[in-house]
Amino acid sequence: MNSSPDFRLWLIPILPLIGSAINGIFGKRFSRKLVATIALAFPAAAFAYALWVVSQFAQLSQSQIPHIERLFPWIEANGFRADYGFYLDQLSVTMLLIVTGVGFLIHIYSVGYMAEEGGYYRFFSYLNLFMFFMLTLILAHSYLLMFVGWEGVGLASYLLIGFLFLKHSAAQAGKKAFITNRIGDFAFLLGMFLLIKQFGTLDYDKVFNAISPLPVEAGVGVLTATALLMMVGATGKSAQIPLYVWLPDAMEGPTPVSALIHAATMVTAGIYMIARSNVLFLHAPVALRVVAIIGALTAIFAASIGLVQNDIKRALAYSTISQLGYMFMACGVAAFSAGIFHLMTHAFFKALLFLAAGSVIHALGGEQDMRHMGGLRKLIPWTFWVMTIATFAIAGFFPFSGFFSKDEILWKAFSDKTHGSWIFWLIGLITAGMTSFYMFRLWFLTFFGERREPVHNEREEPTGAVHAPGSAPADGGHQSATQHGHAGAHGHDTHGGHVHESPWVMLAPLVVLAIGSAVAGWVGWPQAFGGNNHIDQFLAPVFRTSSEPTRSAENFSATEPQRSENPEEEVTLERTLAGVSLATAFAGLGLAWLFYHRRPELPDRIATTMRAAYRTLLNKYWVDEAYYATLVNPIVDGSRNVLWRGVDVGIIDALVNGAGTTSKGVSGVTRRMQSGSIRSYAAWVAVGAACVVGFMIWMGLHA
């Protein structure tokens, strides 16, 4: 480790920070062109430098990995020591390329998308700041530094969701995201305390080395508790049940933000953290099972909500939650590399979906309701084609990227003897079908058929009305705010007007991402189909060396013994399952085609016949309402009536005010001594002197 070269890894996160600082401090006086140049130059430099680092990393020998660079001691207290340092292994390299690469593309896109918006410099300053924290998060060499990045991306997310802070719903959504995340962060913090108590350190290498020799916990012990707390932290950041509620509201932010932070990078931090802690989780099978269950539930739950959403970005938000659930489930069945693989492909196609959706919204001058779209295929052909690729990718069509990663997860969920179960596979499969359905629903509604002009006063109530309690009590006009927020900003007055294709600065990133969405999955071409699953082999050292002492190591790679028992059968099974999931994807496509293209009146009829189910989905299972009733309102009421009116006003204010009135009363009496008359002063002196004399006489008599 000591012999490995110095990559100056700290340069990677620092570069965007410099960009953020320059734009944040001086940006107000800069022209837009200069702001954009700075905002692009620094992430580009970080990306280029990251590429160089990766090329150097590839030349390291196995013994030099993980590559650790300690910069300086950060905290030293009573035997506990935390350094400021960076950690590079296959996992962080993968994340590094995703974050810098996709991040840079989204920066380019933002230059075009935000061109008409106010606060241009502010936006890019925040965006660069996000990059800094995200890179800190993935490159950190200890949980503590990871936590710094973890909190930092939360801050950047808050700032960017509430970017249009004059809009009430946006400000509310920002707060909601921040507070919800805080709950998870609290659990993460407790998990770290447990680690310190157990192992006295938070450095990855030391913690993992300390855990490795321990026996796998059969029941619920300290390791399980730690892992569960970490997992709660991850559910906050990665929007899993029960803390997912902030993500749909986070769509209030500008679309590039949704793409970068709330789809491609930040929300995957929880997955990354669990994958990073794989040693810990493998020693706590109970926690691992909980992760799998939560992931599976979230996947199918969010997908079912996504079936009926009408806001294009909201539909994608639920899709994101669902896909994150997939990754969670992958981690839960100990298929960490499959989870990270899906994280990577998802970063491509989900960023692409969001950016393309942004392009659609841009083209329509701020319209986000899919019921008012349609027939855009000919009008915005570029957007249509990249969106098509992304849709096929997420729906899991061969040979697009989503197919490989999703299939890998499903296969691992099915085949892993220790951690997997056919139930997970089934849930995953149903979710895949739903995903395919709602994505093609979106596709058909947006690009096919005839343009449906909005009819403002006949709008259905549910979405707007439902959302109101979720984000703010006084939020009745939310729906229209969402729709017209952009309209004003972009300076398009008419909805129908002329639909225009986005400028090249927005299309170029879309095309690059489309290529990525199409081919990124090929690095994970499974062996059952004649590939050799590069990504799995690349990531294997991270997930295998660390878990070698345990028996579960067998379940990691395709080359492990359990496969070789019956290689032929296994391969046949894997192929069959892949066929089944592909068929499911086609079924979703077919249904969507039937419902939203061939016979558009069908959905309404079904919605009427199955009114209860439809309303439940449209209202998102009333989770927001339930949270309000059980958690938010009691806290607000308690704060208002007990803490504010009781403690604050009744005790603290009373004490302070009492001190004030008391001294005022006393001084009201004593100030009368200060009459201003010399003779009264003299009298006081005389009285005082007499007292002193009297006292001395008294002392003299008693001496």
Binding site: Q674, G676, S677, I678, R679, A683
Partner: protein
């Protein structure tokens, strides 16, 4: 030989008269004079003790007191003049600006 206690009693009487005059009188000049009376009552006791104990330091103190009293008279009378010029009265009850 007059006993020491007589001097002390005389000094106490003089001092009490000074205090009483200080408290009762309204004219600044009179008050000033009563201060001088109190100082001299103290001087008398100093001298009496010095003579009684055959110590010179008491007499030295008296010189100091007289010097200070002279300086005080100079400053004090200047203040009285200034007060009279601005307030056109020597009645201390009307010189009561120094209050809340």
């Amino acid at each position: 030989m007059i006993p020491l206690s007589w001097y002390l009693i005389l000094g106490a009487i003089l001092f009490a008269i000074g205090v009483a005059a200080f408290l009762v009188k309204r004219n600044i000049i009179t008050i000033f004079m009563s201060i001088e009376l109190m100082l001299n009552a103290v001087n008398l006791t100093f001298v009496a003790f010095a003579s009684h104990w055959h110590q010179v330091s008491g007499q030295v103190f008296v010189f100091f007191v007289m010097v200070v009293a002279a300086a005080e008279a100079a400053v004090g009378l200047a203040i009285v003049l200034a007060v009279f010029r601005t307030r056109e009265t020597l009645n201390v009850d009307y010189v009561n600006l120094l209050k809340l």
